[in-house]
């Protein structure tokens, strides 16, 4: 049970980040427990979150949940704790304790505390300006539009940065490997591809790539335009189809 408790605590620490918002929430919960008079509000926004938190920290509960769902999503139990409404409610209640201009000052101060304790979502490094209304890289759109044949399957090997987006845009483009390659821990399940690894190299081994691409029925091979090549794709039956969005697209002359 001790190791399970440690595991639960690791999950909790990972979820709460700096712990500032969690601290505010616990303070709000205690303050509301002391001051809230409405019985229904107490049940729904004080007792219920407390029960959920108790369950979350119970090692036996964690063990049972993990048994059925795996370890990756246990943190979602914490979604059942209504942090946003409880904190917003407590903040308004605190403001109501004051009158006149003091109320405005308290409100602004509480807003400031929340802002300083939390983290603005748009500061996430995973955000970037959308390149189009599909919210997939424009290069993927251009390449898919160029190689797609309506109602027919086309198979292409893409570099890692385009892999997650290609099939979001076009269901008709198949790939010899997919997003499995991008998650290193999934390699234990046998998700490996030499072709994928070769396309990541600084200098592309043209002969081996052409051989593998043909073996895996790829009609096209796509890679960043600036990559160094060990030879010429033309020598292996491929021809430059186009250069689109900074990517060279080579077509196998021997494919259908």
């Amino acid at each position: 049970m001790g190791s399970m408790w440690n595991w639960v605590m690791t999950q909790y620490k990972g979820y709460i980040g700096t712990g500032m918002i969690a601290g505010l929430f616990l303070a709000a919960l205690v303050w509301l427990f002391v001051t809230e008079k409405n019985r229904n509000t107490r049940i729904v926004f004080i007792y219920m979150p407390a029960v959920v938190l108790l369950l979350f920290f119970c090692p036996l509960f964690a063990r049972i949940v993990n048994l059925f769902t795996g370890e990756e999503i246990y943190y979602r139990i914490l979604w059942l704790v209504p942090v946003v409404p409880v904190l917003a409610y407590a903040a308004v209640r605190l403001m109501l304790q004051c009158a006149g201009k003091k109320r405005v000052v308290v409100g602004a101060a509480l807003g400031g505390i929340i802002i300083l304790s939390g983290s603005l979502v748009y500061e996430s490094p995973y955000f970037s300006k959308a390149e189009n209304w599909y919210h997939v890289p424009e290069a993927a759109v251009k390449i898919c539009d160029a190689i797609e044949v309506e109602g027919e399957w086309v198979r292409a090997a893409f570099p890692e940065e385009l892999i997650p987006f290609v099939r979001q845009y076009s269901p008709w483009i198949n790939m010899p490997y997919g997003r499995e390659m991008l998650i290193s821990r999934w390699s234990v399940w046998g998700f490996q591809s030499e072709l994928y690894d070769l396309l990541k190299e600084e200098t592309l081994n043209v002969g081996r790539i052409a051989e593998l691409a043909r073996e895996q029925n790829c009609d096209y091979v796509v890679f960043a335009e600036g990559k160094k090549l060990s030879g010429r794709f033309e020598e292996y039956g491929f021809e430059l189809f186009d250069v689109l969005g900074g990517y060279a697209v080579y077509a196998d002359r021997m494919s259908k």
Partner: protein, 352 residues
């Protein structure tokens, strides 16, 4: 063309749920007869219907077009029925309008601040893109369904054919994206990354607004303050990658985001209404239990884990409410509301 597409999107994402929700609102206490309640209720009902309809069709290997046709027809029928029921009940028992005093200047200003914060979020949802690897599964599953007219027949990551993946087939939220794409003619990627956040972020705030309106029922003027704090908490809620607020702002198109940001707050709102009736010794309307039943079904649509989360919530509420109110008659409807979770989790255990 684009105007027409947006019009159809608004019809199915706003007007149709409003109509269907009106039918439910007609049977609840007068405080809940407002557009926000109808929108939330309509969404819960329609997406529960979507889940009930789609899972058997997926298992049977039906075409996606069949699902689109049936669901579109049901949407129109439920919406029309909802409006007719609403008008009939209104005619029979005219709803009393709550008398509201004129809004103060400060109150208006706070609503403006909240509106600006909401608009900012909607603009950012369109202007920025968030690179999330799971989209390669969920958005692609929608793109495949719309493009190839199949459901869970092809592997999203690579495109090869596959045996039915029960884990995802039992929680087919991506098919709802594909449905919206098919009826509007918009690309599934556009619906997933742009249209859905523009619909679901306001829906989440609508539910928080409903919660606030109950918490401050005697002090309605505090509602805009509550909403401003809510918006700040969501905007600055990215204290880790895992929070529900982060999921709302970054992964709105994934079922798990809907689970954490629509299902969970809607549950708290609905059980708050149930608690109000218990506290006042009033009968809990069947329509509220029906909404909680739909909520459980909706949670199963969002994620295979959704049914379990619903069970934890119902369990926590049951424990607290039974301890405080000592109404054992609550047990039966609570258990009945959990039936969808039991059924879909049972199906998963048997068929996985």
């Amino acid at each position: 063309m684009l105007v027409l597409q947006i019009g159809i999107l608004l019809l199915f994402a706003v007007a149709v749920p409003l109509g269907a929700g009106a039918g439910i609102a007609a049977f609840v206490d007068r405080q809940e007869k407002n557009a926000g309640f109808m929108w939330m209720a309509g969404y819960l009902v329609l997406l529960a219907v979507f889940q009930i309809l789609s899972v058997p069709l997926i298992i049977r290997g039906a075409r996606f077009s069949t699902l689109v046709l049936w669901f579109a027809v049901l949407c129109v029928l439920l919406s029309a029925a909802g409006v007719i029921v609403w008008l009939y009940r209104l005619h029979k028992r005219p709803a009393l309008q709550a008398v509201r005093g004129k809004a103060e200047k400060g109150e208006i200003l706070l609503w403006v601040v909240f509106g600006a914060l909401l608009l900012l979020q909607l603009f950012m949802a369109c202007y920025l893109t968030f690179a999330d690897g799971d989209d390669a599964y969920f958005v692609t599953a929608a793109t495949i369904a719309d493009g190839t007219d199949t459901m869970y027949f092809y592997l999203p990551y690579t495109g090869g054919t596959t045996s039915l993946d029960m884990r995802h087939a039992l929680a087919p939220f991506p098919l709802y994206i594909a449905f919206l794409a098919r009826i509007t003619g918009l690309h599934t990627a556009t619906v997933a990354h742009v249209a859905l956040p523009v619909i679901l972020i306001p829906l989440t705030y609508c539910i928080y607004g409903l919660i606030g309106s109950r918490l401050f029922k005697a002090k309605r003027r505090q509602l805009p303050v509550f909403m401003v704090f809510t918006a700040i908490l969501i905007l600055w809620g990215n204290y880790s990658l895992y929070t529900a607020e982060t999921f709302l702002m970054t992964r709105t198109r994934q079922g798990k985001a809907a689970l954490g940001n629509i299902m969970v707050p809607a549950f708290f709102f609905l059980v708050y209404l149930v608690g109000e009736r218990l506290a006042e010794n009033k009968k809990v309307e069947i329509s509220l239990w029906l909404l909680l039943f739909c909520l459980t079904t909706f949670s199963c649509l969002c994620s295979t884990f959704g049914g379990f989360l619903a069970a934890v919530l119902f369990g926590a509420f049951g424990l607290c409410a039974l301890t405080v109110y000592k109404r054992w008659r609550l047990l039966l409807p609570l258990v009945l509301c959990l039936l969808p979770a039991a059924i879909y989790m049972g199906m998963y255990m048997i068929m996985k």
